[in-house]
Symmetry: C2
Subunit: 342 residues, 2 copies
């Protein structure tokens, strides 16, 4: 291990002042004779010089780092979002600091502290729903905060990028109603999540439009992670009047749900139609292939990064941007026409 050369080493070796080297490093910041520039470049190459980001960031804050704070990267939805965000950021020369909350307030708060200390220029996050004061503080500091996939209603002036959850919930439910189903269940995210709430709102719209009766027993909240989705499914199956169709919120849940159904010997779609919010290639390979609500992850990522870098050094207050992109309902065999009982 050798000590790293500094800008002064380069200056000395090239026989110029550090100011000149700095100008070579930042083209456009001042005039440098072509011959000098070339010589300095040469010296930098032979010395293996690389300017230290930490030092550069000292003077003026870094518009060079973004924080990406997700619930959980093992969830394929978030994983793909992370992938797209990283690509999009890299294409703009921005680095991404990845953090996870595990849906835990306390962890979220710790992560946010480190992001504050790093003075990141922007944060893209799936908020847990708490830590309101910290989010506010971040905005006061001039950090561009963007909520993606969900939001916090109490924080009115934060940029938000989501899919149109109301419409998605509505169209999925409407599809099931159109297939003759009258007992349609929904396994949704936690009650606090805006995502879940909006989808349920759409679900109710569709029921009303189809003239179907609402039954709150058919709407179940379950944690996004773990096997809670399976328990919700079991509860639904044990109802006096079990549903003939169900809309499920995400991958982890549908995995648990399908496992439970297989175990209980319930066949899809003959006995139960299934729609899931998801966008993995494997949904098509299952037996039966799953009807899905496809979320345009690339659009979510692109808009998020754009907003997170939009106002370097402070946003204009009072005008939050809300982007809602449309999800796409893709019909496959897991939805079937309701059979009239024999």
């Amino acid at each position: 291990m050798q000590k790293q050369p500094t800008i002064r080493d380069v200056a000395a070796a090239a026989g110029v002042s550090v100011a000149v080297v700095s100008r070579v490093l930042n083209p456009g910041s001042g005039p440098v004779a072509a011959a000098t520039r070339d010589r300095v470049h040469e010296v930098m190459a032979t010395l293996g010089y690389h300017p230290r980001t930490a030092a550069r960031e000292l003077k003026h804050g870094p518009p060079t780092t973004l924080g990406l704070l997700l619930a959980d990267v093992s969830n394929p939805f978030f994983a793909r979002l992370a992938d797209q965000v990283v690509q999009e950021a890299h294409s703009r020369g921005i680095q991404v600091l990845l953090m996870t909350t595990q849906e835990d307030d306390q962890l979220e708060s710790e992560r946010l502290s480190t992001l504050i200390e790093r003075r990141v220029s922007g944060i893209i996050a799936t908020p847990t729903g708490n830590n309101l004061d910290i989010w506010k503080r971040l905005q006061d500091m001039g950090t561009d905060v963007v909520f993606v996939d969900r939001s916090i209603p109490a924080l009115a002036d934060v940029d938000v990028v989501t899919i149109n959850n109301v419409e998605s919930g509505r169209s999925a439910t409407a599809l099931l109603a159109a297939h003759g189903h009258r007992r349609i269940a929904m396994i949704s995210g936690p009650a606090e999540s805006t995502t879940g709430r909006d989808r349920i709102a759409g679900y109710r719209q569709a029921l009303d439009a189809a003239g179907l009766e609402r039954d709150d027993l058919l709407v179940r909240s379950a944690a996004f992670r773990g096997t809670a989705g399976g328990d919700a499914m079991s509860a639904l199956l044990n109802l006096d009047e079990p549903p003939t169709a169900v809309v499920v919120a995400n991958t982890a849940q549908v995995t648990a749900v399908l496992g439970r159904l297989a175990h209980a010997g319930v066949s899809v779609p003959a006995e139960l139609s299934v729609i899931v919010f998801e966008d993995s290639p494997w949904t098509e390979l299952m037996t039966p292939p799953l009807t899905i609500v496809r979320q345009p992850i690339d659009l979510l990522a692109r808009h998020s990064v754009r907003l997170a870098l939009a106002n370097p050094g402070g946003r204009t207050p009072g005008k939050p941007t809300v982007v809602r992109v449309d999800a796409e309902l893709i019909e496959r065999a897991s939805v079937g026409r309701l059979k009239v009982r024999a």
Copy 2:
């Protein structure tokens, strides 16, 4: 947006010197009277002071950031690896800078430059296989480099964490042989990848052990990403003597392979047995459930992080650590006994 308070603002407000505030910030770095400490803490709270990481890192390098350089986070294997690495790093108070190469040398080289400029203390990477000089330079600089999942044979003194690919390839192949298969194919990663090479070595060991003839036509290299796996499968089906069993390298490939098989009307396992290197819950939900080689991603992550933080400020040369963890073969219905032709 308000200007952020600095350590001098805190010192002034608390009526002490910056040295004292710094000592409060870094417990153990020097004596501070309890009363003073409390007062300073109070001032920091009311001022909303947060020390800037960039400034702290200037003095002595940062053992506080890790670079995680993966091919691609949309691949579930890497996504889960990222998730575990982030969790493991966070539990040690370390932050993770996430980057992707898309398996592209050029991009990899750019990402590495950024990591050099940030003076990260360690890098966990799935190398593309090129940029040898940059990897060497990083080690010279004292950066802890850890290759995970694959390695570069030409770089002998880099720490490596992988699964035991030879043994995995061998046991998967042996299982198929034990079921009576004599024409066993392997769809592997690119020929350059150590992962693919090792698995093929194991595959050959198993063939030899079972007294089966090697046929190079049955071994196909395909890119890890995209639909190349499907093309390889098609080619295998079109052989004069097509295989009756196949081992597939990863998720993206098996997705393409199964799609192709469904399209071609080949049934699994009746006409073709399938084993895949994968570890997603959904492999169990498919029809038929897939036999898999499960990779212990949490162990890979834990060892990688440990090694990447092992030698803060320079590794002892000449003693690279190589960790090989065992993968687990999980038998499910996608492997069947070879039927003798009628």
